[in-house]
């Protein structure tokens, strides 16, 4: 069941449709939760955006429980995001027993070098998009070959490593603190 869902949402067009459906199904509930805890409509929007991104990641890693509906799961994730981002008390959020078992990705709120990422975008956005397809969207080599217009799987693989080589050099040249990498 979850496997089918994963396949459905990796394609960008279906993903947008899936997200729209989830907004209609779950956003009013999350908005009521945020409003009842003193938050604003912008807080609710902010939380829901992160919740959908996290939902997507967990679905690709098959970490969603099949015993819970998509809607319930997403609402649970949103409550966890609210606790984490707005430093709220877990008890005040009144999490259900199933919601309590949800774990957000441990690195989701970790800071990163924004100026270095901007530099990577400026010098090779296509490489970053290719990397996203490989590592984040976890698309198959065949899917990547087709969507990026490579002649085949081998060409896609070689291009991937060339991109890493190029971007690794940029990270090296622009790392302020070499001691972190030693």
């Amino acid at each position: 069941m979850m496997q089918e869902k994963t396949i459905e949402i990796v394609a960008a067009k279906t993903r947008a449709e899936f997200f729209a459906g989830m907004y209609e199904e779950a956003f009013p509930n999350v908005a009521r939760f945020v409003a009842s805890h003193g938050g604003t409509v912008d807080d609710a929007k902010d939380i829901f955006q992160d919740a959908l991104v996290i939902y997507y990641e967990l679905s690709l890693e098959n970490k969603l429980s099949i015993q819970v509906s998509d809607r319930a799961y997403l609402i649970g994730i949103a409550k966890h995001v609210w606790i984490r981002k707005y430093k709220k008390d877990k008890v005040a959020a009144s999490l259900s027993s199933i919601e309590s078992t949800i774990e957000l990705p441990s690195d989701y709120f970790e800071p990163y070098d924004q100026s270095l990422l901007t530099l990577l975008e400026q010098t090779g956005k296509r490489c970053l998009d290719l990397m996203r397809a490989f590592y984040y969207d976890k698309l198959s080599l065949n899917q990547i070959s087709k969507s990026f217009g490579f002649s085949g799987v081998r060409s896609a693989t070689v291009q991937k490593f060339k991109c890493i080589e190029k971007m690794r050099a940029i990270v090296k040249e622009n790392s302020i603190n070499y001691e972190d990498l030693a």
């Binding site: 959908l52 970790e110 990397m131 984040y136």
Partner: protein, 87 residues
């Protein structure tokens, strides 16, 4: 593939957990005695963290676009705003 690309592939396999136990032992041992390899592994890990941050940022934009479209719908927008206008 060129030698440097082979090294990148090997580090990629190491970071993404695709090495066999034996291969992992070899690379762990090499990391102890080879500071250049250690440096390159850390460099590649730093790059992967940036790729993840980029992926999340672009995914969040996709979600925000969907949200903006939905909020252009008067019925949906009013339904949500009513929730926040209650005393």
């Amino acid at each position: 593939m060129k030698t440097s690309l082979n090294e990148i592939k090997q580090i990629d396999d190491h970071i993404t957990g695709q090495l066999s136990d034996g291969e992992k032992l070899v690379i762990d041992a090499r990391m102890i005695i080879d500071p250049v390899l250690r440096f390159n592994i850390n460099l590649q890990q730093k790059l992967y963290a940036l790729i993840k941050a980029y992926s999340r940022r672009t995914m969040r934009s996709e979600v925000a676009n969907v949200q903006d479209k939905l909020f252009q719908d008067t019925k949906f927008r009013n339904e949500i705003l009513t929730i926040f206008s209650k005393p």
